[in-house]
């Protein structure tokens, strides 16, 4: 059936397009042109395969078709005809020297794919452009799929991709793996893009369009691909570990009516132990590569502490405190400090935690962050300062935009209504 072949071609495209585009980019030295050639090959496949059937080696077929289109393109371009004739000849020579197209596709593709990853996340591009380009070129997603996942119109995403390729061409961004000096910073932005995609999917709740939670799988796949391409980079394994462990909780993070369920209230029996094992293995791999712990390794270590605790009471809070302290040094942020305060409270008592939280309140940077008063209220309640606790929960309720969360916070506030010195027994 024609429709079945189309879906098969979709699948083949998803499997083959990253390597195809990567190899073509190396050969023609222009990402936009490479993608156009790859798309031409896809169109040819859509025209021919329903009749002739899917070829035995679809990747090689697409590559051969793209290469022929490339030669035609160079021949037709009259402005730089001579230069392109040279390239075209070089092309043909390469073709004759490599009669086995399979080998041509495998040739250096690992390096090519890595170069494609770095160029997709080039700092000359906006973050949204990096995300769109990465999902398209490495993830093999169609524009329409990316648009659905990010709740944007398809035309917007298409425009982003077009503009991104134009920017890369205008700035003559080279198709290369960044040198040692730049590598850490460039890698950090690649990891940032992948984690952004993951969080977009992670924050989507069940019951929404299935494309959104599927972003977590896409991000995980991208992370694993990167780990294979750059096996000496501990932060890549750190990110993969972090995502695997967070994904292990995806089934129990949301209640039946869509309300978020906090870590401490989740049914740990339904945490995916396979994902946890994989996450811990990736983390172990990262630690073996380097004793220096980067931000993703640290976050993964924190997630691992929770993952290893069969009950909330078994959580190794003192270790989490140490990890947050290290994270605060490397990647300081008010949110990290707040999390550290929570960990300190769990490890050393609410008074110790409250001291840190009060210091944050003075700072004003978390002024409108609704979790801050919520945390403060919780600690005050534990210290039996109930009037103050109530005020904090009311304040937290006023700051949150989530209706269910607001309801829960107001309920907590009402438990300490003026006039009752003790919460009602339940």
């Amino acid at each position: 059936m024609a429709t079945d072949t189309h879906r098969t071609i979709d699948a083949v495209w998803r499997i083959e397009s990253p390597r195809l585009i990567a190899s073509l980019t190396r050969i023609v030295r222009d990402l936009g042109l490479a993608e156009d050639l790859a798309q031409d090959a896809l169109v040819a496949a859509l025209e021919q395969w329903p009749e002739s059937g899917v070829p035995d080696n679809p990747g090689a077929w697409l590559m051969a078709t793209a290469k022929h289109r490339a030669i035609d393109h160079f021949r037709r371009n009259t402005v730089l005809e001579r230069k392109h004739e040279e390239l075209g000849r070089e092309f043909e020579e390469k073709e004759m020297a490599v009669p086995d197209f399979e080998a041509a596709l495998d040739d250096d593709f690992g390096d090519d794919l890595l170069r494609l990853v770095f160029i997709s996340c080039h700092p000359a591009l906006s973050t949204e452009a990096q995300v769109a380009l990465t999902l398209r070129l490495i993830g093999g997603l169609k524009t329409e799929e990316i648009a659905r996942a990010f709740l944007m119109p398809e035309a917007t995403i298409a425009q982003r991709v077009v503009r991104a390729k134009r920017t890369l061409a205008e700035k003559r961004v080279p198709f290369e793996v960044p040198r040692r000096v730049e590598l850490a910073a460039r890698l950090s932005s690649v990891l940032g893009v992948i984690y952004l995609i993951f969080n977009e999917g992670y924050s989507a709740t069940a019951g929404e369009d299935w494309m959104r939670p599927a972003l977590c799988e896409d991000a995980l796949r991208l992370g694993r691909i990167l780990a294979e391409l750059a096996p000496q980079e501990p932060e890549v394994y750190g990110l993969v570990a972090l995502m695997e462990i967070q994904a292990s909780r995806s089934r129990v993070r949301v209640g039946p009516s869509g309300e978020p369920i906090l870590l401490f209230d989740q049914n740990r029996a339904h945490w995916d132990q396979l994902l946890i094992r994989r996450g811990l293995a990736a983390l172990a791999h990262a630690e073996k590569l380097s004793s220096a712990q980067g931000p993703y390794v640290l976050q993964a270590e924190i997630a691992a502490c929770h993952a290893r605790a069969r009950t909330p009471e078994e959580t190794d809070w003192p270790r989490i405190v140490t990890l947050y302290a290290a994270l605060a040094q490397l990647a300081p942020s008010p949110v990290v400090e707040l999390n550290r305060a929570v960990a300190v409270a769990m490890a050393f008592g609410p008074a110790a935690g409250l001291e840190l939280v009060d210091a944050l309140t003075v700072g004003r940077s978390l002024e409108n962050y609704h979790l801050l008063p919520g945390v403060r209220g919780d600690l005050l309640q534990k210290l039996s300062r109930l009037d103050e606790a109530r005020a904090e929960f009311e304040r937290a309720a006023s700051l949150t935009r989530n209706a269910r969360e607001r309801k829960l916070l107001l309920e907590r506030a009402q438990a300490f209504a003026v006039g009752s010195t003790q919460p009602e027994p339940r």
Partner: protein, 136 residues
């Protein structure tokens, strides 16, 4: 979407040729590089296997070999893919490998989606919808 692929063939098929094992190693490596494979393995012969059956309120343990079975599961692989078509494409390539590097080998790869509770719930919904349609 998660898929379990089970390779079935008639026993005994003998050890696979080295050429096949080399090609399989490359195919597996590609799946690892693509970030899609979750696990895989070859299964030992049924001569060394055991079955535990519950029937008529009785549990019975029986050692292999089991001569009544025409085809046995020889191996498995678990994948995380975007669509069933991707799974089929992968299985086709896997079988092509057998055709090319293990002449005479015959068998079948069965592709089953791994259902989570949400998938079972979805299936139940669809079954009741179909039943309602048939009843009206």
């Amino acid at each position: 979407m998660r898929f379990m692929m089970m390779v079935k063939h008639t026993e005994p098929s003998g050890p696979p040729p080295k050429e096949f094992m080399d090609a399989m190693a490359i195919l597996t490596e590609e799946a690892v590089k693509a970030g899609t494979i979750r696990g895989s393995g070859g299964l030992g012969p049924t001569a060394q296997s055991t079955r535990v059956r519950l029937s008529g309120g009785q549990i019975k343990v029986t050692d292999g070999p089991f001569t009544e079975a025409k085809e046995v599961v020889g191996g498995y692989a678990e994948f995380e893919l975007k669509s069933k078509e991707e799974a089929i494409e992968g299985a086709v390539r896997f079988m092509e490998l057998h055709k090319k590097h293990w002449p005479g080998w015959e068998g079948e790869t069965e592709i089953r989606q791994i259902f989570g509770p949400e998938d079972f719930a979805q299936q139940a919904k669809e079954q009741s919808r179909t039943a309602q349609k048939q009843a009206s």
